[in-house]
């Protein structure tokens, strides 16, 4: 093979795709082996920061539309495992790494308060595994490898959620429920991959795409598509498959929720996009129809049903969990449009909603730390005693609504443009209408924090420590910053959307 040379990575920079995974993967056992509670957090933080630098480098390389193909161990695909980075997954990688790096300093204080000391080392081990798993899902170009990384991140996620049991025992059932459901979802996913293997005889995603394109569709391929969409749909929390999410987010430790809400579902959405666009291609009528008749209706349903539930919640954290389900609806809607603009909206909302939710969940974490609860009734008047935390929560809330000048507005604007471009007026109106529901549930928070007289714990609460405020405000500032500078978000989303719509360009050799 003439391209033999390219298989052997020549410089350090060529190894970036694998280093992306290796850094946290080596750090995870390292925390256990060293066994020092004092060193666990620094290791986690440093590996996360290194990963963030790598992700940034990868995004810069792929922004122009270039695709990096890395052959693991020098084994050429389709037999060897290929890591394949383009703008779409580099963008997701950066999101995951950035969120992790910012959430970790917050986590240090939050975890110290919510989890007993003896668990700290293992907590960070599980965290790193989850982190590495999410990165692996995003970076790999091998279908079965996706499943493996998905399981790594899922299993450690269950452990992380269960850590919430020191504050509320219901975290255990939440984790257990999620374990059951997550496993069923993963099983469906792996069944789908099995069917694909049956139909094509290969596991490399680009290779699968080539062969499906050659042989056309048949029952096996169609069944595979259905299984994969439903299986990964559970991880995404597509509307009727969302039941695991509210409990998991509510009862998990604050730091875990902030991390997962901003990253886990987003990575799952990326996988969905990758399979729909790069492996199956939407020009197959079955893929097209699935999006149009299943994903879009459920996405719109989610935008409303979940928002209504969020309005009636009495627990801030649970409200945010339901609002996440609604926001995922927007992302899926953008993807379902199957147009350049729609995909751009979906991908940019994936990012913007990630930072918004990270800010909000960190805000809740800080409130919980000082008042001991996330119920509205216990947070009344906290705006006066915890002004900085509350102000950041308000900024996050505004971004959640999509108020102009915040990140949330940008992606919703593009989404509305995408709907108009398709000539779907009613859908554009529905997007705006459901944003008004967000106004209601965010207003309830503002009312609780600022307009109610301070009572109980909130009246005597002191401002959250700087270790929490700084990450919180970085996120809040990002919500504003990306509301004005759209170079990175919209730019990368556009490149990513182009890449995805162009489909798999075939094997990189």
């Amino acid at each position: 093979m003439a391209s033999e040379v390219t298989h052997t990575a020549a410089t350090f920079a060529d190894h970036l795709p694998v280093l992306q995974i290796l850094v946290p993967f080596i750090a995870a056992p390292l925390t256990v082996l060293i066994g020092s509670r004092a060193l666990a957090w620094p290791i986690a933080f440093v590996s996360s920061a290194i990963a963030a630098v790598i992700a940034f480098a990868l995004l810069m390389k792929t922004m122009g539309g270039e695709v990096i193909s890395y052959h693991l161990g020098g084994w050429a695909p389709p037999l060897g495992i290929e890591y394949r980075v383009d703008a779409a997954n580099a963008f997701v990688l950066l999101l995951v790494c950035a969120i992790s790096t910012i959430v970790l300093p917050f986590a240090r204080t939050s975890v110290a308060a919510e989890i007993p000391k003896r668990q700290h080392t293992l907590f960070y081990t599980a965290y790193l595994l989850c982190f590495a798993g999410l990165l692996g899902v995003a970076v790999t170009g091998d279908a079965f490898n996706v499943f493996v990384f998905l399981e790594i991140s899922s299993l450690s996620t269950y452990v992380l959620i269960a850590q919430g049991s020191y504050r509320d025992k219901r975290a255990l059932t939440a984790a257990f429920d999620y374990l059951m459901m997550g496993t069923i979802g993963a099983t469906f996913f792996v069944i789908g991959i099995g069917l694909l293997y049956m139909a094509t005889g290969t596991l490399n995603m680009a290779d699968i795409a080539d062969r499906i394109a050659e042989q056309g569709s048949n029952r096996t391929v169609r069944s595979a598509f259905a299984f994969i969409v439903v299986g990964i749909g559970l991880k995404v929390a597509i509307y009727p498959l969302h039941l695991w999410l509210p409990n998991s987010y509510t009862f998990a430790p604050s730091a875990v929720t902030a991390f997962l809400a901003a990253t886990a579902t987003k990575v799952a959405i990326y996988v969905l996009m990758r399979f729909v666009f790069s492996v199956f291609r939407p020009d197959f009528s079955f893929a097209n129809n699935t999006l149009e008749f299943i994903i879009i209706p459920f996405a719109i349903l989610a935008m409303f049903a979940a928002s209504f539930i969020a309005i009636f919640q009495s627990d801030f954290k649970r409200m945010l969990a339901y609002s996440s389900i609604a926001q995922i609806g927007y992302i899926l809607l953008g993807i379902g449009f199957l147009t350049q603009t729609g995909l751009t909206a979906g991908i940019s909302h994936l990012f913007n909603h990630g930072i918004t939710k990270a800010a909000l969940f960190m805000g809740v974490g800080a409130l919980v730390l000082r008042t001991g609860s996330s119920f509205y009734s216990r947070l009344e008047g906290a705006g006066r005693t915890m002004p900085w935390t509350s102000a950041a929560v308000v900024i996050g809330g505004l971004s959640l609504i999509g108020v102009p000048g915040t990140a949330g507005f940008i992606s919703k604007w593009v989404l509305v443009q995408a709907a108009l471009e398709k000539g779907w007026w009613p859908v554009a109106l529905l997007i705006v209408a459901s944003s008004l529901l967000a106004v209601i549930y965010v207003w309830r928070v503002i009312e609780t924090l600022y307009l109610k007289p301070a009572t109980g714990d909130a009246a005597t609460a002191t401002e959250a420590p700087a270790s929490m405020l700084i990450p919180l405000w970085i996120m809040a500032a990002a919500c504003i910053y990306f509301g004005f500078d759209t170079q990175i978000t919209i730019g990368a989303s556009q490149t990513a959307a182009q890449g995805l719509l162009a489909g798999a360009v075939g094997m990189a050799h």
Binding site: T173, I238, T290, F293, P404, W413
Partner: protein, 566 residues
């Protein structure tokens, strides 16, 4: 000059920030007074052109577009901010001070906005900043009124944004220029302007909220929001015929409500609505002279309306009430306020030598010249109505009429000063209209003091005065009774809540049914599990997982069907 590079609105925002660090008292007061003057100077001296541009999201925003139309509005907004702040010199409430500056800044920013996105930002800015002037009263009533006001104002902004998005999709341009009604986008923009301009049936927020604000807040509120909308209409929809009819209705219907209204600040709010009607008619006629009329009338109107609100506000400040039924005979102890109020009343009634006369006749003449005789007649009738409810009713029931026995002190010095300056400006414009005419968007060839104008107007005024006298003597004039008139708000306050209420009941029933169904499904699964797994409590918690599995199965089934069918 370096100051020319800074958009005027930013001066206000910077000053608002500065206020936060300054101590209460004279220094703050000085900033509040000096800044509008600096801004006015800047606006006055800026040559026409586009100054500050910014890139946003692939669009170029024009933050500062100066032409003759925007300059005259920008200038009067600066003057209004100065007068309002002078009137509020005694206020020691940071919220109101900052809100007033931000509000004025946003309104001025909107006037100079060269594109729809910038306009939208400032549009919402005026909404958010101004609501604090209502909330600053800190009563439950004011809170709820403010909330209603805010919702309507924000909705207007959202509609504007939606309109701008669709307009952009249709034309590929976001420039804020003359538009023609016809497409959905322009209609939405038109509706948004109309909400802020208090078109008939969209007007309730105005009479509802302005009287609910603080004494000084109302003065500030009366100047900006609606006149911003007038400017926006003049810029975007000049010559749109439908505006003539909308405007005519606007001049007429508030008269009747104003006649029966007891709260004098609400009377003024109605008459404000009526005055807006004149401007809207002018925009609808759309000729150069008509637009001149609109701009100059807005200029004069801001002044005399502020003056009237100031004088009634001073009474409210001293006596604690603005109800006609509780006031009367105050000229004995508040002679100067009474005199200022009379100047305001004379101006709004368009007495010769007062500002209303030289500006309103521009619009009236153009309407006649454009061959709308019925509209012209309606405007003349409305002018008589203005005289009745604002020109006579306000000063008469406050300062004269029966003696209420109240002997309040004269208004504070700074209030008198503010009223004095405003009254001076009203008379100055009335006597020497040339400087105002020189600022108007188009060259003016107009002489207000012709025999026909003066005699015609005097006839009208005299007959209206006569009618008022006769009505009072014969006791037909509606007495000042304590009552709240609900206007068409009845629909929104009584009818709609009931409709929404019954809808909510239906929705919640469906919701509960769904919940019950889910629980029932869960329970069904639970019973089977119970039979097969024995009495283990652990399993009892599994039902949501079960429900979930059913959903997965259902979804998979549906997806497979769709896949196989296509």
């Amino acid at each position: 000059m370096a100051i020319n590079l800074i958009p005027t609105a930013f001066l206000f925002f910077a000053a608002a920030l500065l206020l936060l660090v300054l101590p209460q008292g004279r220094i703050r007061g000085a900033v509040l007074l000096a800044l509008p003057l600096v801004a006015a100077l800047q606006v006055f001296n800026l040559p026409e052109g586009i100054y500050a541009q910014a890139d946003f999201f692939g669009f170029t925003l024009e933050l500062m577009r100066v032409d003759r139309l925007s300059r005259v509005f920008g200038l009067i907004f600066c003057i209004a901010a100065f007068l309002g702040n002078l009137y509020a010199w005694h206020v020691r409430d940071t919220v109101q001070q900052v809100a007033a500056l931000l509000y004025a800044g946003a309104a001025i920013g909107a006037v100079f906005a060269g594109d729809l996105i910038t306009l939208f930002f400032y549009w919402e800015g005026t909404a958010i900043a101004s609501v604090f002037l209502i909330w600053a009263r800190r009563t439950t009533g004011a809170y709820h009124t403010g909330m209603r006001y805010l919702i309507i104002q924000i909705a207007s902004g959202v509609i504007l944004l939606a309109g701008a998005a669709i307009h952009y999709r249709e034309t590929g341009s976001l420039a804020f220029e003359l538009m023609t009604l016809g497409s959905l986008g322009t209609w939405l923009i038109f509706l948004s302007f109309g909400m802020k301009c208090a078109f008939p049936l969209l007007h309730n927020w105005l009479q509802d909220s302005y009287p609910a604000a603080t004494v000084t807040g109302t003065v500030i509120l009366s100047a900006f929001t609606t006149k911003l909308a007038v400017y926006a209409l003049a810029r975007g929809f000049a010559g749109t015929e439908i505006l003539i009819y909308i405007g005519a209705v606007m001049t007429l219907f508030p008269i009747f409500f104003a006649e029966i209204e007891n709260d004098l600040r609400r009377v003024l709010a109605y008459s404000l609505n009526n005055q807006l009607g004149f401007m809207v008619v002018g925009i609808g006629v759309g000729t150069e002279m008509a637009l001149n009329g609109t701009a100059s009338h807005a200029f004069a109107h801001i002044l005399y309306k502020a003056l009237l609100f100031m004088s009634v506000g001073a009474v409210l400040y001293r006596t604690g009430t603005s109800k006609a039924s509780e006031l009367g005979g105050l000229y004995r102890t508040m002679p100067r306020t009474a005199a200022f109020c009379l100047v305001g009343a004379a101006s709004i009634s368009a007495f010769p030598l007062f500002s209303g006369f030289v500006t309103k006749s521009l619009i009236l003449d153009e309407t006649a010249a454009a061959h709308y005789p019925i509209i012209w007649a309606a405007l003349v009738f409305a002018s008589a109505g203005v005289l009745s409810h604002s020109g006579i009713k306000i000063p008469f029931f406050t300062f004269f009429a029966h003696d209420s026995g109240l002997r309040p002190k004269e208004a504070p010095m700074h209030m008198q000063l503010a009223m004095g300056i405003t009254a001076f400006l009203c008379i100055f414009i009335g006597v020497f209209p040339a400087p105002l005419y020189a600022m108007l968007p188009y060259p003016v060839e107009f002489h207000p003091y012709t025999m026909a104008h003066v005699v015609g107007q005097m006839q009208l005024l005299c007959f209206a005065l006569l009618a008022f006298g006769v009505l009072m003597r014969t006791g037909i004039h509606p007495p000042e009774i304590r009552a709240v008139n609900l206007d068409t708000d009845w629909t929104y306050r009584w009818f709609m809540p009931r409709v929404i209420g019954s809808m909510a009941r239906v929705i919640s029933t469906v919701w509960t049914a769904r919940e019950t169904l889910m629980v029932a499904t869960g329970n069904g699964i639970l019973r089977r599990l119970y039979r097969s797994h024995g009495p283990e409590g652990r399993i009892a918690r599994v039902w949501p997982t079960g429900a979930m599995v059913i959903w997965i199965a259902v979804l998979l089934g549906v997806t497979l069907m769709v896949n196989f069918a296509s």
